[in-house]
Amino acid sequence: MSSIAHTQKRGFAGTVWDYLTTVDHKKIAILYLLAGGFFFIVGGIEAMMIRIQLAVPNNDFVSAGLFNEIITMHGTTMIFLAAMPLLFAFMNAVMPLQIGARDVAFPFINALGFWLFFFGGLFLNLSWFLGGAPDAGWTSYASLSLASEGHGIDFYALGLQISGFGTLMGGINFLVTIINMRAPGMTYMRMPLFTWTTFVASALILFAFPPLTVGLFMLIFDRMFGSGFFDVAMGGNTIIWEHFFWIFGHPEVYILVLPAFGIFSEIFPTFARKRLFGYSSMVFATVLIGFLGFMVWAHHMFTTGLGPIANAIFAVATMAIAVPTGIKIFNWIMTIWGGSIQFTVPMLYAVAFIPSFVMGGVTGVMQAAAPADYQFHDTYFIVAHFHYVIVGGIVLGLLGGAHFYWPLMFGTMLSEKLGKITFVLFLTGFHLTFFIQHFLGLMGMPRRVWTFLPGQGLEAGNLISSIGAAFMAVGIIIMLVNVVITQKKNIQVGRDPWKDGRTLEWSLPSPTPFYNFKQLPLVRGLDPFWIEKMEGKTEMTPAEPIGDIHMPNNSFVPFVISLGLFIAAFGAMYHADEGKGWAIPVLIIGMLVTFGAMLYRSIKDDHGYHIHKEDLLDDAGKGGTH
């Protein structure tokens, strides 16, 4: 496969095949964006159903059992299938470019990670059509998840297991990439903050996902293969599940929010035309948050009855996280202080993020006070808190990041006008929906209730909250319209579309060549592209002469490996049912597909191919276009 053939225009089927087999981080980013965006819409529809049901007391829009399925799938989808892959989309699209790499360290594993996530998510969502979704909450506490009838929880455990493998592989891949593939001169302390947060988040994935994997395996064995890890009657213990889940679950929050912090740390300097204030303390704070993130899981379990000593220790440890987070907030404010702020759509999301996230952060400290949390725990106060953190932090980051990196990923610019309409509607709706929920919780409304009775003083707050949710929905619909219009017009914007790009990704021609850097750039400091621009140059100084570039071949194997696990999961799930003799063969066939594909991959030598120097020189004549 020669480089130029690789860039030929192809038909629809050819494009589909290209994406099914791609190992290019930029295309995998688009796959993550599409799949994550799809699940984000699904999770959003579930959210709207929740708010419709709770708009008035004693509503019967959905039944009690269905409501529990909806809240479970809303939480699980948003965390595992929307927020994670959308962040992975930006990590894939941006991080290798930011460090001056031609791809991630293991392009094959990168593709495998995506397809595992995708098939896991697909499997989980098929539960809607195959007898009912999981209904024990996204935390799936063991006594309830073992008691749950039907296959909902099995879909949850197997689906998350498969997609969790993908996430773990993705995390390891990013770690190796950042450690080994930085361009000459790109020292650790010159890495852009988004790369740093990707690095720390990947390290958290490496340590946080194994407890989830173990917990899920125990749940799978308890439910499908007759073990008794969580079955009290057999000497098991359900509290262990809570520990496993939260040892994973708390770092997971930081896995999500740190990359969002990274996105904002790129947006602020760009549109304030000023370097990030206190870069080294920002890096330090990121690492410290990641470290402390593992020390605080039991604050989710203050009411479990761990005793005053454990509660007091975890209370104090949790409060400590406020310090590095505060450092970050003040550094962002000081970054725009004295700057020249241009309010583009990404910058609007970034500035709106500061007060919104601070609101979520301070209620987090309030919950860290264990005796106060005995009141807050499992009420709408908690719902308000984590939506302020997740929507106010992560979703604003994703929306801002989508507008910011759209030109990098697609070569086009989303409409600023429609973007601002989305921003106003979404932000208004967000505060309208969740601010009032603090008070609903304090007034005695537990979370995860499918209805509430009149006469308890909860009517007005719930109605306001539901109205706010409608604003958010309209905002997202307008954003989708924006995307469609932008891609239909397809006006290419070229290199450095925001004009104030500071980091390496903006130094590349647009669309980015599939080999990224014709010559690896020489990095001379923090914000390397900015440094070159300040010296009047328009491109990076190369660190090497033009030479052959080694590229990996596309491969369909990642898809097949993932598909095998997807098939095997059905066998594992149905084998305990009466009269389903086909289940065990299906389990075996699925595993054979997976291991067969792995064996094929191991035996067949695939050395990739080279883009020759001459082709690159040719390409240069055309401005490095794709």
């Binding site: 309830l144 007091a312 601010f435």
Partner: protein, 362 residues
């Protein structure tokens, strides 16, 4: 543009705050109107942390607003601002001040954590196994609550009755899946685990109880299945004298009293139906000697005195009949549905009359 937006948002926030601060919820339910010492401890800590945090939010908001308004780019301005690396003094300032604020919050947090966990008094047993303090054993079951008074040797369900003006100690656990025991106005919640007994104390002030008409709402605070939202219970907090009267009346409902036929003929017929269809699960004596595992349904000895049917419906015969005729409609997933077959309208009338006659208070 941005200025307008900021104002707009502030408007929304202040509007909501005004709306919400006009009331702190209902005195029988709200954590913001604490009914006793445990609730007050939590409330004080909530307020302390809230005020510290409101201070933080104000400082950040002012800095933020000034930065956003003052440093916006004028049209056509192409100047490059000074590239500031950072400031060690500022970094130290915004590291040390938060640490100091957290220390202010940490000390009362740790003290309160230990205070609220201090249930030593309930472990001090007299020779006959009783304690000098008020103890209630709480058992959470799929969508109903059992309250056992080990010192008084009585069992009731759904309506917890406690004396005011003293600490009430609770042993809590669950029989099926995990629930959480929460009386918001009285204090924090504690999970009812399936593998161990948790302990907690609460206290109800005499005056505060009177303000709430001596009746508080209790809730299940841990997702436990379809009817989690409907797993309510009620708490009657009575002055010591009235509580003692209630205990005496409850203790009088022995087997003999329970078996006596009611004077009302409809109710007497209802007792027949009840004995056939319901008695194998529901007890009507307060001193139910069966082991816990056999007590699979709420004790009904004082059903006629209760505040609500099944914790959620108006306490009258009409609602009671609807509930018995089709419990699935009111509490989906409950364990009673389908265990007693169809009942005729006449049987329903009789049952309702009988159940309403089960009173210990006059």
């Amino acid at each position: 543009m941005k200025q307008k937006l900021t104002k707009w948002r502030l408007f929304t926030v202040f509007g909501l705050m005004a709306l919400v601060l006009s009331g702190c919820g209902e005195p029988f339910l709200s954590t913001l109107i604490p009914a006793g010492e445990a609730g007050q401890t939590a409330y004080d800590l909530m307020m302390l942390s809230t005020w510290i945090m409101v201070g933080v939010v104000i400082v950040v908001s002012i800095l933020f607003a000034v930065a956003v308004i003052k440093f916006r780019r004028k049209k056509g301005d192409t100047t490059i601002p000074k590239q500031v690396e950072g400031s060690h003094i500022l970094e130290i300032v915004w590291t040390v001040i938060p640490i100091l604020l957290l220390i202010i919050l940490t000390i009362p947090t740790v003290i309160a954590t230990f205070d609220l966990a201090d249930t030593k008094a309930m472990d001090k047993k007299n020779e006959d196994g009783t304690t000098d303090v008020m103890v209630v054993n709480v058992r959470a079951n799929l969508y109903w609550w059992e309250f056992e008074y080990p010192n008084q040797k009585i069992i009731t369900s759904q309506d917890l009755v406690v004396p005011t003006g003293q600490k009430v100690y609770f042993n809590v656990k669950a029989t099926d899946v995990k629930h959480s025991f929460w009386i918001p106005a009285a204090g924090g919640k504690i999970d009812t685990n399936v593998e161990n007994v948790n302990q907690i104390w609460l206290e109800f002030d005499n005056e505060k109880a009177a303000e709430a008409d001596n009746l508080f709402y209790g809730k299940c605070a841990e997702l436990c299945g379809p009817s989690h939202a409907l797993m309510d219970f009620k708490v009657r907090a009575l002055p010591q004298g009235e509580f003692d009267q209630w205990v005496t009346a409850m203790q009088a409902v022995d087997a003999e009293a329970a078996e006596a036929a009611p004077t009302n003929p409809t109710a007497a017929a209802g007792q027949e139906v009840f004995n056939q269809k319901c008695l194998s699960c529901h007890a009507v004596t307060t001193a139910d000697a069966r082991p816990e595992a056999a007590r699979t349904a709420p004790n009904l000895a004082n059903f006629g005195d209760r505040e609500m049917v099944a914790g959620i419906l108006e306490h009258d015969e009409e609602e009671l009949k609807k509930w018995i005729a089709n419990p699935e409609q009111y509490k989906p997933g409950n364990k009673m549905t389908g265990t007693y077959g169809e009942l005729s309208d006449q049987e329903l009338d009789q049952l309702a009359a009988y159940l309403m006659s089960l009173k210990v208070e006059q």
